[in-house]
């Protein structure tokens, strides 16, 4: 036992050091793109592509961490969280492009709107359990996307319609740097919120609901209020990410703010990193998003996939992603963070055990 606790601690330390190094690199590299650093002859570590990918990763950190609050801690398989992202994006986008609000005034409205929406929708939906909740939330996600694209008033699309919504470019020096740090701030907020939730009365109530909802109600947890609170919290964070995305990307439409595959990606990230933990979903988001970008060929370091032509590459990348998804779900059901915790080691016995536990 003592030896195990020792390895446990050692793995924790290695993992922590690794995280600090990656975090420090991600936070400091952008500074080399400042004019002062450039004139001082510091090598440029972050170009436009770097900012684009890093901001995307931070965005998924927010979404996966937010999903974890309702999906991981509360145990409700939300499959339509992308609706909150889209609502946040369109709230900020409309306020900026139509009402001419300044970005920093329009941004806080995004989480407010998506929270309000989540509360209204959550009250009836969260009465459903299991598959039914998943399917209903998926339906809400799809329906909201369709409505936003198609609602018209006197023949004019209210939200820009199928051609989308263009925002004026936000005038700020070092745009890439600004939006990267803003998204990282959002990610930090969502991780801090998760940390707080897990230590609060709310969090204990949510975990009780996940483990046994009837029992939780019996011991005095107001299950409806708690579930809606978790749903609204996830919505607020996701909406914040959407709001930042709209001004960062300058152009929003149904395809880039309500994509169904984001629903799957955020869940997969949370699962990969470990649901119900504080840092797991964030780690999963970084890993999976890097992998997606790598397979898609947009990272500076890229390997050729043998026997595959350049044009077929994105398609083959998707096939590999699918195979990976299947393999992870079958063999590593508790997430890769299991290994870093030091409690378990990646071994044939582990794979065989997880197979035996879940298969027919």
């Amino acid at each position: 036992m003592i030896a195990r606790a020792d390895t446990h601690r050692r793995w924790r330390r290695i993992f922590l050091i690794l995280g600090v190094i990656v975090g420090a690199y991600a936070l400091l590299a952008p500074l080399t793109s400042l004019d002062i650093a450039q004139s001082a002859g510091v090598p440029l570590l972050a170009d436009r592509l770097w900012f684009r990918i890093a901001t995307f990763i931070a965005m998924f950190v927010v979404m996966a961490t937010a999903w974890n609050i309702i999906g991981g801690i509360t145990g409700y398989a939300a499959f339509g969280n992308v609706a909150f992202f889209g609502i946040g994006a369109y709230t900020t986008g409309m306020l900026i492009s139509k009402a001419r609000w300044p970005f920093l005034a329009a941004l806080p409205v995004a989480p407010v709107m998506s929270t309000a929406f989540a509360t209204v929708v959550g009250l009836p939906l969260l009465r459903l359990r299991g598959h039914y909740f998943a399917v209903a939330s998926l339906g809400v996600g799809v329906a909201v996307g369709e409505l936003v694209q198609n609602v018209e008033y006197r023949g004019q699309p209210i939200f820009g319609g199928a051609s989308g919504l263009f925002l004026p470019i936000y005038a700020v020096d070092n745009r890439g740097l600004f939006f990267f740090y803003l998204m990282v701030l959002a990610a930090a907020i969502s991780i801090a919120v998760t940390w707080w939730v897990l230590r609060s009365r709310l969090g204990y109530g949510l975990i009780a609901i996940r483990e046994n909802e009837e029992a939780a109600a019996v011991i005095g947890v107001n299950t409806t209020a708690y579930k809606v609170a978790a749903f609204a919290l996830a919505a607020a964070l996701t909406g914040l990410a959407g709001g930042i995305f709209s001004q960062w990307n300058v152009f929003i439409n149904q395809d880039n703010t309500f994509p169904i595959e984001y629903n799957v990606q955020m869940i997969l990230m949370a699962l990969l990193g470990g649901t119900g933990t504080v840092f797991g979903p964030a780690a999963g988001a970084v890993l999976l998003q890097l992998l997606i970008q790598f397979l898609g060929g947009s990272l500076p370091i890229s390997a050729d996939i043998p026997f595959v032509s350049e044009s077929a590459r994105p398609i083959v990348a998707q096939v590999i992603l699918g195979v990976l998804l299947v393999v992870v779900v079958i063999f590593v059901p508790r997430g890769v963070i299991d290994f870093f915790g030091g409690r378990t080691r990646l071994s044939l016995a582990y794979l065989r055990r997880s197979l035996r536990e879940t298969s027919l």
């Binding site: 999906g71 039914y132 329906a143 079958i330 298969s359």
Partner: protein
């Protein structure tokens, strides 16, 4: 009045395809408790099989449907036996993710094989129909509705009148008890999924006749299957038939709402689905289990 009758007819005919898309999905969901996100991809595979047989062998598209069914039964059986059976005891989210992964694989393999061009199957009689006064009944959707009803009826027959069907019903009501009385669970699960895939294949063949298909077109079919199954209710084939026809009607009326109503058809359908889920989770005709 004539418009109304025409609308009802078109809605019911369109519902035929939705019935076909829904029955397999409902079977897999109701019996195996798997929400099969790869269903749409299987539908598209069926569509491409029909297209391939039609263009290379010049077979009548409706004659290719049994081929679709058999091919997809085999594929579905192997998929369930080899892959999906491995996670049956895992939390429900895992089946979502696993079937989404399978969907990704199938769709992108289709893209590699067939490219992203739209393909359509157009026999000589497509686009023609009967005329009663001013009401038109097109042939292809009419035969499709007939095929869908026949498909549902034969599925109901298999489920209620054969030994295999009894085994499937047994695992639907209690998996462990079914195992105790000697049912080979792995085989029965695989047969059930295979039957679901076969229905998807037939649905794909019908869809290829009605609209152009492309590998990435599967997602709407999965979503439609959701709506159909929820509307009708889980657990009975006849409920899915009602759900499919109801969905066809809802869509036809949704599209006829004056002033760009057609673009709201999906939103109306999904709004209705959420409404049914919240107010009557067992569906219009379903039994609560």
């Amino acid at each position: 009045m004539v418009d109304f009758v025409q609308l009802v007819i078109l809605g019911l005919l369109a519902g035929g395809v939705y019935v076909a898309v829904g029955v397999g999905f409902g079977l897999v969901w109701g019996v195996l408790n798997i929400v099969n996100l790869a269903h749409g991809a299987l539908v598209v595979v069926g569509g491409y099989l029909t297209w391939q047989l039609f263009t290379t062998l010049h077979l009548d598209p409706f004659l290719t449907l049994p081929v679709d069914a058999v091919a997809l039964f085999v594929f579905g059986y192997a998929l369930q036996r080899g892959v999906i059976n491995r996670i049956i005891r895992a939390p429900l989210l895992f089946t979502f993710l696993l079937t989404f992964g399978l969907n990704l694989i199938v769709v992108n393999l289709l893209l590699l094989i067939f490219g992203s061009d739209f393909r359509s199957v157009t026999p000589s009689y497509s686009g023609q129909g009967f005329e009663f006064g001013s009401i038109v009944i097109p042939y292809v959707p009419l035969i499709s509705l007939g095929v869908a009803i026949a498909l549902s009826a034969s599925l109901a027959f298999v489920l209620n009148r054969t030994r295999t069907g009894l085994a499937i019903n047994a695992i639907a009501s209690d998996r462990d008890a079914a195992q105790l009385v000697g049912i080979d669970l792995r085989h029965a699960y695989a047969v059930t999924y295979g039957l679901g895939a076969a229905c998807a294949g037939v649905a794909g063949g019908l869809i290829a006749l009605i609209q152009a298909i492309t590998p990435t077109a599967g997602e709407p079919y999965t979503l439609q299957a959701f709506v159909v199954v929820i509307l009708g209710g889980l657990g009975r084939v006849s409920a899915t038939v009602v759900g499919g026809l109801a969905f066809g009607l809802v869509e036809a009326f949704g599209q006829s709402i004056p002033g760009s109503g057609s673009v709201f058809a999906n939103a109306i359908a999904f709004g209705l689905m959420v409404l049914v889920l919240v107010t009557r989770p067992q569906g219009l005709m379903g039994r609560l289990r």
